[in-house]
C-alpha cells in the first residue's frame, strides 16, 4: 500500500540511488558512500540497542571482525583483485555474528548499566588482541589486493554495495518492529522484569537480537577493508567508532526507524566534509561534542521524535482552533 510516508521513503532512497549518476566527483561519491555505510551500521545497531534499550558500545568488535575476515580470507584464498572480492562481504557478516554469540553470552548476563561497561571492556580485548596477535599483522595491519579500476569510477560499485546494505538494514529494521520478536525487544526496553513476568523469554530474545544486529556491521567492515585496500587495528577497532554509532542513533532518534538513518547521514557527511576542508581533527572533536550537547539539551529524544512532536502539537493546535471557531460561530448563531 502506498501511504504518504512510504512515498517519502521511496523518494529519499531514489535520490540516494541517483546521486552518483548526477554527482561524479570522486570526493563526494566517497563521502556519501561512507555516510551510507554508517547509515547501515547505525540502523543495524539500533535494531538491537535502540529497540531493547541495551546500549552496546562494542559495534567496532563486529566491524573489525568483518574487516579482518575479508583481509585474511583474501590473503589465504588468494582472491584475485577483481569483483570476486565482494563475495567476502557476506562472510565478514557471518563471522561477525559468530563472534557476537559468545560476546552476547557473557555481556547479556548483566543489566543495562553494567552491560555498557562490559561491552567497552570486550572491545578493548579485541583491539589489544588485534594489535598484539601475530596472524593479524600487528600494528602494521594487513593488505588486500588493490582493485585495478579507474580513478573516476572507483567509488561507484562500493557506493551501490553500501546503498544495498542501507536498504537491507532499513527493511529488516522496519520488519522487526512489526513482528512479535520486535515487540518483545521493545517490551524489554520498557520494563524487563515485567516482560519476563508476562512470559517473554528475555534471554533468548536479547541474544538473538544482539547476534542479528552484528551481521550488517560485519558486512560493512568487510566493505571498508576492500575499499581501503589496507587495514590497521587502530582504525577498524576504534573506540570513537563505538561511540559515534551510538551518538548518531541518539542524535536522530534512539529506537526509531528514521532516526539512525538521519543521524548517521548528517554526522558522517559533516565529519568528512570538515576533515576535507579544515583537516583539523581537534576542531571536529569540539564541533561534534558541542553539537551533541546542544541536541541533548534542546531535543533529548532526538531530532526525529522532536520534529514529530512539534508537528503533532501544531496539528492539535490547528484542530482546536478550528473547533473554537466553530463553537464561536455556533454561539453567535444562537
Amino acid at each position: 500500500m502506498l501511504t504518504k510516508a512510504r512515498i517519502v521513503w521511496i523518494g529519499l532512497f531514489a535520490l540516494l540511488a541517483l546521486f552518483p549518476l548526477v554527482v561524479t566527483t570522486p570526493t563526494w561519491t566517497s563521502i556519501i558512500m561512507f555516510a551510507l555505510m554508517y547509515m547501515a551500521i547505525t540502523t543495524s545497531w539500533n535494531m538491537f540497542s535502540g529497540y531493547s534499550g541495551y546500549v552496546a558500545l562494542g559495534a567496532a568488535c563486529f566491524f573489525g571482525t568483518g574487516a579482518y575476515t575479508a583481509a585474511l580470507l583474501a590473503k589465504h584464498w588468494n582472491v584475485p583483485a577483481s569483483g570476486d572480492l565482494f563475495w567476502l562481504i557476506p562472510l565478514g557478516g557471518i563471522l561477525a555474528m559468530a563472534v557476537a554469540l559468545p560476546i552476547g553470552l557473557i555481556a547479556l548476563r548483566v543489566r543495562r548499566h553494567t552491560f555498557v561497561v562490559i561491552t567497552i571492556a570486550i572491545f578493548f580485548v579485541f583491539q589489544l588482541s588485534a594489535i598484539n596477535a601475530s596472524f593479524t599483522g600487528g600494528t602494521s595491519g594487513l593488505q588486500l589486493p588493490f582493485l585495478p579500476w579507474g580513478f573516476q569510477d572507483f567509488n561507484v560499485p562500493f557506493y551501490y554495495l553500501a546503498f544495498a546494505m542501507v536498504v537491507v538494514a532499513t527493511l529488516l529494521s522496519a520488519w522487526v518492529r512489526q513482528t512479535r520478536f520486535g515487540l518483545q525487544l521493545m517490551a524489554i526496553r520498557d520494563d524487563e522484569d515485567r516482560a519476563l513476568g508476562l512470559g517473554v523469554r528475555v534471554w533468548a530474545v536479547k541474544l538473538s537480537g544482539f547476534v542479528m544486529s552484528a551481521f550488517i556491521i560485519g558486512c560493512a567492515g568487510a566493505l571498508y577493508a576492500i575499499y581501503q585496500g589496507q587495514i590497521y587495528p587502530q582504525f577498524v577497532f576504534n573506540p570513537l567508532f563505538d561511540i559515534s554509532v551510538a551518538l548518531m542513533a541518539f542524535l536522530g532518534g534512539f529506537g526509531t526507524l528514521a532516526g539512525p538513518l538521519l543521524g548517521a547521514f548528517v554526522l558522517e557527511t559533516l565529519q568528512l566534509w570538515l576533515t576535507e576542508n579544515y583537516s583539523s581533527g581537534s576542531l571536529y572533536l569540539i564541533i561534534f561534542g558541542a553539537l551533541f550537547l546542544l541536541v541533548i539539551i534542546f531535543m533529548p529524544q532526538g531530532v526525529v521524535v522532536y520534529v514529530k512532536d512539534r508537528v503533532t502539537k501544531r496539528e492539535d493546535r490547528e484542530r482546536s482552533m478550528i473547533a473554537d471557531n466553530e463553537a464561536q460561530i455556533a454561539g453567535a448563531a444562537q
Binding site: I106, R109, I118, A121, S129, I243, G289, L293
Partner: protein, 295 residues
C-alpha cells in the same frame, strides 16, 4: 621470574594502584549517588595533569602545592558540568544518556587540549623528586611513587572521614542506598548529587598530577585511563566505595605481575579478561549488592 621481581611488582602495584583507586572512587561515587556513568573521568584526569603541568612549567609552582589551586578548580569544573548537562538527564534512558553526554563533554575537552597543548606527549618532570629514587626493600623506588601513594592515601582517608563521620556524608550514603527514600526523609538529593559530582571530579586533579609526573601523556591518554577506571569500578561492584579501593589496587598489582611474569604487551588484556571471568560468575561485581537497583 624471580621472587624479588614479584615483590617489586606487588609493591609497585600497591603504590600505583592507590592512585587508580582514588580516581575510581570518584567515578563510583558519582555512579552510586547519581546513576551517572561519567566516561569523561579519563579526560578530567588528563585535564588535571595539564593544569599541574602548566602551573609547574610556566609558573614554577610545585605540583603538590599546585593542588591547592587545581583541586578547587576541578571541583568547580565538575559543578558547572553537572549543572549544565548532567542535571538535565531524566527518565529511563538516564544512565545510557549520561555515557553519551559525558563522552561528548570529553570530546570537547580533548579537542581543546589538543589545540592548546598539541598532541606531543609531555611529562611533569621539573620537580626534584620526580627523577630521584630511594633504596627501600632492596630496590630503588622513585620518590614520586611514594609521595603519590601518601597523597592518595591521605585523600582517600579524608574522603572516608567525610562520608562516614560527617552529617553531609550521612546524606551521601543515604542517597547511595536509596534516592527516593533519602528525598523522603528531607535530604536535598539534587544538592548532594551536585557536590558529589564536584568531589568526584576534584579527586582527578590529584590523580592527574601523579599520572602526569609518572607518565608521559597527551589528551588521548584518557582512553587508556577511562577503560581501566571503568573496569575497576565494574569489577569492584558499581557504586561500592570499598570495591573501587580493593579492585583498584588488586588490578594494578595483577597487571604488574603479568608484566614481569609474561610480557607488558599482554598485561593490559589480562585486566579485561579478568573482568569478563569475574562477571561471568558474579554479575554484580566483587562488592556489588545483588540487584540493589533494578535497571
Amino acid at each position: 621470574m624471580t621472587f624479588s621481581n614479584l615483590v617489586h611488582a606487588v609493591i609497585d602495584g600497591v603504590l600505583t594502584g592507590s592512585v587508580y583507586a582514588l580516581m575510581a572512587t570518584g567515578l563510583t561515587l558519582i555512579f552510586g549517588v547519581m546513576d551517572i556513568i561519567n566516561v569523561a573521568q579519563g579526560v578530567f584526569v588528563i585535564l588535571g595533569s595539564y593544569l599541574s603541568y602548566a602551573l609547574s612549567v610556566h609558573f614554577g609552582i610545585d605540583p603538590f602545592v599546585g593542588l591547592l589551586i587545581t583541586m578547587p578548580t576541578m571541583f568547580l569544573v565538575g559543578i558547572v558540568v553537572e549543572r549544565a548537562f548532567i542535571a538535565r538527564l531524566k527518565g529511563p534512558e538516564k544512565t545510557a544518556m549520561s555515557i553519551l553526554v559525558t563522552y561528548a563533554v570529553s570530546l570537547v575537552i580533548e579537542g581543546a587540549l589538543n589545540m592548546i597543548f598539541s598532541t606531543n606527549p609531555v611529562q611533569i618532570n621539573n620537580a626534584s623528586y620526580v627523577n630521584s629514587s630511594v633504596h627501600l626493600f632492596g630496590m630503588w623506588l622513585p620518590f614520586i611513587y611514594i609521595y603519590g601513594f601518601i597523597l592518595a592515601s591521605v585523600l582517600l582517608g579524608s574522603l572516608y572521614f567525610l562520608l562516614y563521620r560527617t552529617r553531609f556524608g550521612a546524606s551521601v550514603r543515604a542517597s547511595l542506598a536509596d534516592q527516593t527514600a533519602a528525598a523522603l526523609v528531607g535530604i536535598d538529593v539534587k544538592k548532594v548529587s551536585t557536590i558529589c559530582f564536584g568531589i568526584g571530579i576534584a579527586v582527578t586533579a590529584a590523580g592527574g598530577m601523579i599520572y602526569g609526573t609518572t607518565n608521559a601523556f597527551n589528551a588521548s591518554s584518557s582512553y587508556d585511563l577511562i577503560s581501566r577506571l571503568l573496569t575497576i569500578i565494574v569489577l569492584g561492584g558499581m557504586g561500592s566505595l570499598a570495591g573501587a579501593l580493593v579492585a583498584g589496587v588488586s588490578m594494578i598489582i595483577l597487571e604488574d605481575i603479568v608484566a614481569v611474569a609474561w610480557s607488558p604487551v599482554w598485561s593490559n588484556i589480562t585486566f579485561f579478561i579478568l573482568l569478563v571471568i569475574v562477571l561471568s560468575f558474579r554479575p554484580q561485581g566483587l562488592f556489588g549488592k545483588q540487584s540493589a537497583r533494578v535497571a
